[in-house]
């Protein structure tokens, strides 16, 4: 399966703490994206990092990409209760029709 793996599967932290989620994938990629899914809702795009980039920031989000290890991490700093959601990484493939392949997701719970 091409599907990426995310680690941890679930993460529970207190408000104000940082949350780190990791994603590993298997194939050559064009880019890697992170999405958030609130319970019962659709996915919302957070950030995209291209294969020639190593780090990217957006507000409280910091994403790193290590193509040699085929892995990425998403750091959410100073978490809030509203950050409670599932987070998915998705890789844009370099072959075929360059579809997005989603990881297994990390469920983040931020307690007040």
């Amino acid at each position: 399966s091409q599907q990426g793996e995310e680690d941890p599967q679930a993460l529970s932290i207190q408000e104000g703490e940082n949350a780190t989620m990791n994603c590993s994938y298997k194939t050559s990629i064009n880019n890697l994206q992170w999405y958030r899914q609130n319970s019962g809702r659709g996915l919302v795009h957070l950030i995209l990092i291209r294969s020639n980039e190593r780090e990217k920031h957006s507000g409280r989000l910091r994403v790193t990409l290590d193509t040699s290890k085929k892995s990425s991490s998403l750091l959410i700093t100073a978490s809030r209760a509203a950050d409670t959601a599932s987070y998915f990484c998705a890789t844009g493939q370099n072959t075929g029709f360059q579809k997005l392949v989603f990881g297994t997701g990390t469920r983040l719970l931020v307690s007040p």
Partner: protein, 115 residues
């Protein structure tokens, strides 16, 4: 002003029935997708259309037939529904023909329950 909308939001039906899910996007994108999310939250692409042309068909049973009447609409028709079809189906859209190169915008999902 919803960007990607789907109807219905919930669909409960009996095995063997035929049902359709509709999707519309007002973002001016030229590529649209159908994804299936199972009970374990695995999200997998089913189909992709670019400018009304099918470009991805991920070995989905031919009971599933997508139809794109124009760039802004992508509907999904399912024949002879089976229990295993129960899932949440998401429509998405993006700009550009290479589906993995740009961010995708998702609809709210349609929760299909087959009894």
């Amino acid at each position: 002003d919803t960007a990607v909308s789907q109807t219905p939001k919930y669909l409960v039906t009996q095995m063997g029935n035929d049902k359709s899910i509709k999707c519309e996007q007002n973002l001016g994108h030229d590529t649209m997708y159908w994804y299936k999310q199972d009970s374990k939250k695995f999200l997998k692409i089913m189909f992709s259309y670019n400018n009304k042309e099918l470009i991805i068909n991920e070995t989905v049973p031919n009971r599933f037939s997508p139809k794109s009447p124009d760039k802004a609409h992508l509907n999904l028709h399912i024949n002879s529904l089976e229990l295993g079809d129960s899932a949440v189906y998401f429509c998405a859209s993006s700009q550009g023909g290479a589906g993995g190169r740009n961010e995708q915008f998702f609809g709210p999902g349609t929760r299909l329950t087959v009894l």
